[in-house]
């Protein structure tokens, strides 16, 4: 019966009420009694002292009439019911008794007993007070005090208090009963709702938006909770459904397995069994070592284990072995599954068989390697005869005065240069694609270099009556540090395109500016050519594409030029922009950031770039096996007035080096008996053994790939001269290592 919340509530409430009331009442009654007693005592004390003072004189003079009057008047004081005055001889000399309240006999008894409780509600208190004057005893007074009124007041107070307590308890009981009842009813209702919600029944929870009390709030909270639970359950079911579909999709496509924290397989899907050839029974309880390929090193598995135990996701492609012993590749992702505290509980591995992809990739890499080698060889093989053709054309031009022949020679030169240009384009594209193209920065004088480059197109422009309008900003600094070759290559591309696509009699505008704030060099070439459609503009920077196929047919070219230019600009942290209107012309602009440098003796000066004929003094040893090239070099060196010795291979060259003193060695790489590098090593060793001053050795090769340059430099070559040798490059090398002797 007392287990219900209501009973507990009522009992607790009433108990607390009773305890508090009892404490309050007992304290109150106790205080009241004490106060009453104190009041009575004080009243009696004050009264007796007053009486004594009043009766002293009449007592001394035996003025009994006055004494009687005083006594009688004194007896009018409330609650004083009898007084007696005795003289020093204990003779009663005055007395007064209120006969209606007390008999003479009772009075006498009281004088003996001091206190007498006559009935439950009536109490008389007697007191005796001595009368003295200056320590002389005159007598004493006795008087009786009726304390009944105080008792009556206290009793009345107590009775009223008891009634009030009873009323308070009754009200308390009724309130607690009412509240408890309401609470019990609400809680039972809530319990039923909670059970129904737990049983997944459809429940409507009544609630009141206005929240009159906590119970309303509880109902409202329950309503919200139920709403959230419903939404969450729906979301959860949807998620489970989605998840199940994901799992199905995953099981159909991926090899899935789970392992415990020790790496023991606890789950495999059917795909796993299908690919590996193992049954589920064979796999469960095993580790993935069952699939391990011995070629995959321990370090790989150590790294994998360290990654996943550190709660990170491991991803890699590696080789496994099927039950049949057949190898296969998987692209695996291993994810650690964590509990709420963040501890690993198991690992899930999702693998895709990528054997075909890996094979294809391997084949592609091999193909690429073959292609690069082919390009390299092609470059070398084509450049060598081109070297001879161009070299001899130059020699013939110098020695021929017949105009027809000169015209033919010019055609041969143009065709050869065009062919060389195409080869260079293909080679550059190949280098860019394989990431082997390196930007080589040197200081250069922009005004001079850009003017020189533009001038190269002057004849072509003149041939087509095209007006070249050049505007080079006079504020352009004297010296930039950058890859001049590549910048010129881009300019070359812009200008050759502009001349190619501009009809006779039109103009080409070249604008070159530099913005100090942004350190941006802008080279802009605007033509009045055929222009491009929007579609054509979007394709023009793609490799092997021109504005349209008819362009290739009409104007020629590989379609690589702008693609290479664009990529070179990117490599130099710049960009190329294009503005074009079909039929109106196009503007190509190159923007690249360039550092300004100071012009000094150490880098370059305009004098060095003088175009006047140069002569050099010195003796050069040439190691070249190709007879045509030997002849070409011979002619070139003679032109510069340099002495030389030609040898057919490295062995001969080393022999010649030992027998005579040379100022410079031009060393071909690919030679019979001893390669260029082997010969260099011999020379260096010889110099060291004989403590000779080092003679500069310059690599002479048609192989212009950057890696070859690096290889030569690493071997100890002092410089590099690309074949086919042209005057400019040869002059640069001679100038560096020989004495200059002006005519």
């Amino acid at each position: 019966m007392f287990n219900s919340l209501k009973s507990k509530f009522i009992i607790s409430f009433i108990t607390i009420e009773i305890i508090f009331f009892t404490l309050i009442v007992s304290l109150n009654f106790n205080s009241l009694n004490k106060a009453s007693q104190t009041l009575t005592d004080e009243k009696m004390h004050v009264s007796s002292q007053l009486l004594i003072e009043l009766i002293k004189t009449p007592l001394i003079t035996y003025d009994l009439a006055t004494l009687d009057d005083i006594v009688k008047n004194f007896s009018n004081i409330k609650n004083v019911i009898a007084i007696q005055v005795d003289d020093v001889n204990d003779n009663i000399i005055s007395s007064y008794i209120k006969e209606e309240t007390i008999s003479e006999e009772t009075f006498k008894n009281l004088i003996h007993d001091n206190t007498q409780t006559l009935t439950k509600d009536r109490k008389y208190i007697s007191t005796l007070v001595e009368i003295t004057v200056d320590d002389e005893h005159l007598g004493h007074i006795e008087f009786v005090f009726d304390n009944s009124e105080h008792i009556k007041i206290i009793k009345s107070n107590q009775n009223k208090t008891y009634i009030l307590i009873a009323i308070a308890l009754l009200i308390g009981f009724l309130i607690s009963y009412f509240v408890g009842n309401k609470l019990e009813k609400s809680l039972k209702h809530l319990t039923k709702i909670a059970k129904d919600v737990a049983d997944d029944k459809n429940v409507v929870i009544p609630y009141n938006d206005s929240h009159k009390d906590e119970m309303d709030e509880l109902f409202y909270a329950m309503h919200r909770m139920q709403k959230h639970i419903s939404e969450r359950t729906l979301n959860l079911n949807n998620s489970i459904n989605d998840l199940q579909q994901f799992i199905n999709a995953l099981n159909h496509s991926a090899i899935v397995s789970k392992t415990d924290t020790k790496g023991v397989i606890t789950y495999v899907n059917s795909k796993f069994c299908e690919v590996t050839g193992y049954s589920e029974e064979e796999l469960l309880g095993q580790t993935h070592n069952i699939l391990r390929d011995k070629e995959v090193g321990d370090d790989f598995y150590k790294d994998m284990w360290e990654t996943i135990t550190a709660k990170k996701i491991f991803h890699s492609t590696f080789k496994n072995i099927k039950k049949s012993g057949e190898p296969y590749y998987v692209d695996a992702t291993i994810v650690p599954l964590l509990d709420r505290e963040g501890n690993v509980i198991e690992y899930i591995a999702i693998r895709y068989e990528v054997t075909e992809i890996v094979d294809a990739k391997d084949k592609a890499i091999e193909a690429k390697r073959i292609k690069e080698n082919f390009l390299s060889n092609m470059s070398h093989e084509i450049r060598t005869p081109m070297n001879a053709i161009l070299g001899f054309v130059q020699i013939l031009q110098k020695n021929t005065t017949n105009k027809t022949n000169l015209s033919h020679l010019k055609t041969i030169q143009n065709s050869s240069e065009s062919l060389l240009h195409i080869i260079n384009d293909i080679l550059d594209f190949s280098k860019i694609e394989s990431g082997k193209l390196v930007i080589d920065k040197h200081p250069f004088i922009p005004q001079y270099e850009f003017t020189q480059t533009i001038e190269l197109f002057a004849i072509n422009a003149q041939d087509k009556s095209i007006n070249l309008v050049t505007n080079i900003d006079s504020d352009i600094p004297n010296c930039f540090e950058g890859d001049l070759t590549r910048i010129k290559q881009i300019m070359f591309n812009f200008l050759s395109n502009a001349i190619k696509f501009t009809k006779d009699g039109k103009s080409i505008f070249i604008d070159i500016t530099y913005k100090t704030k942004t350190s941006l060099l802008c080279i802009s070439v605007k033509d009045e050519g055929i222009g491009m459609s929007k579609e054509a503009q979007s394709k023009v920077f793609n490799a092997f594409e021109q504005a349209d196929n008819s362009t290739t047919r009409q104007f020629g070219g590989t379609g690589l030029g702008l693609s290479i230019s664009s990529k070179l600009a990117s490599l130099m942290n710049g960009e190329i922009t294009l503005e074009s209107t079909e039929g109106m012309g196009s503007t190509f602009s190159l923007y690249i950031p360039l550092k300004v440098c100071k012009l000094n003796d150490k880098n370059l000066s305009l004098n060095d770039l003088s175009t006047e004929d140069k002569r050099f003094t010195g003796k050069v040893l040439v190691a070249e096996d190709n007879k045509t090239n030997q002849m070409l070099i011979k002619i070139l060196l003679e032109d510069y007035g340099v002495e030389y010795t030609i040898t057919d291979d490295g062995l001969q060259a080393f022999k010649a080096f030992k027998t005579s003193k040379y100022d410079m060695v031009l060393m071909d790489e690919n030679m019979p008996n001893m390669t260029g590098i082997q010969t260099l090593e011999k020379i260096l060793k010889y110099e060291e053994e004989n403590q000779l001053k080092h003679t500069p050795v310059i690599a002479l090769t048609a192989n212009v790939m950057q890696e070859y340059k690096q290889r030569f430099a690493a071997a100890g070559m002092d410089d590099f001269l690309a074949k086919p040798i042209n005057y400019t490059e040869l002059e640069r090398v001679l100038e560096r290592f020989l004495h200059n002797s002006k005519i």
Binding site: T61, D63, L64, A65, T66, D68, N91, I92
Partner: protein, 268 residues
């Protein structure tokens, strides 16, 4: 405002000087409470009748009363005949009114006491005050003349302030013989006391207590008071145990004066 205040002050002073309080002194022969009960209504009556403000005044003791009276402290006073002859001599107080009766002294003893006690050396005499006319002086005179007892010689007298105290003292054994007067004895309310006493001797009659006026009092005022006294209503007279008040000539007190001389208590 200041001007008005000054005028008011002046007016109050003037009024006071014109209508000064008239002090009516009463000999304290009874307890002050009893005196107040009897005399307060009389003073009120006189004030109403005369239009004067008449204030009742008494003293703690007869001695004090005598001191004030003999210094002219009251405008008019009710006093015993001996007091009157002294006051007349000292301050020229003149008696104009007295009760229409004579005064006699009495000696009381406890019922059953022997007259022999009168002469007993151990007997204690109680008197209201040394100069109470009838209760002390007349009784002392008769004790000497008729019983050959000299109180002064016995030196055993106790003055208990009032007649009632004398009677109560004898009744409660404080003394053996007490001096009083017929009127006070008769007016004694305490039946238990009265029952226990006997009058053992009554003296010769003398004129009773007079109302004597200070000679400085204006005649018209005095007249108004005398007239009012003579017309005093019966309830007030009854409280005084007097049937009627009458107008007198002050020579009526010559017998008192000669008695005082005989008792050698007349001041020179």
């Amino acid at each position: 405002m200041k001007y008005i205040y000054t005028i008011l002050t002046f007016f109050t002073i003037a009024t006071t000087s014109l209508h000064a309080d008239i002090i009516m002194g009463i000999v304290p022969q009874q307890s002050p409470l009893k005196l107040l009960k009897v005399w307060k209504p009389i003073s009120t009556y006189l004030s109403e009748q005369t239009g004067e403000k008449i204030i009742f005044k008494t003293e703690k003791s007869i001695n004090k009363f005598e001191e004030v009276l003999y210094n002219g402290g009251y405008d008019f006073a009710y006093m015993n005949p001996y007091h009157y002859v002294v006051a007349n001599k000292k301050q020229n107080y003149i008696a104009h009114v007295r009760a229409n009766k004579n005064i006699r002294g009495i000696l009381v003893m406890k019922t059953g006491s022997s007259l022999e006690k009168l002469k007993d050396k151990n007997s204690r005499y109680l008197f209201p005050a040394p100069n109470a006319f009838a209760a002390t002086l007349l009784t002392k005179y008769d004790l000497v003349q008729k019983f050959g007892v000299s109180i002064e010689v016995l030196n055993n007298a106790l003055y208990v302030n009032s007649h009632d105290s004398v009677y109560k003292g004898i009744s409660r054994g404080i003394g053996n013989i007490g001096g009083g007067i017929e009127r006070t004895y008769k007016n004694m309310n305490d039946k238990n006391v009265k029952k226990s006493l006997n009058i053992v001797h009554t003296t010769k009659a003398y004129p009773s207590h007079p109302f004597a006026f200070k000679p400085s009092m204006k005649k018209e005022v005095r007249k108004k008071i005398v007239d009012a006294l003579l017309k005093m209503p019966e309830p007030l007279l009854k409280a005084l145990s007097v049937k009627k008040l009458k107008k007198i000539n002050h020579t009526e007190y010559d017998s008192v004066k000669s008695l005082a001389i005989k008792l050698q208590i007349m001041p020179k």
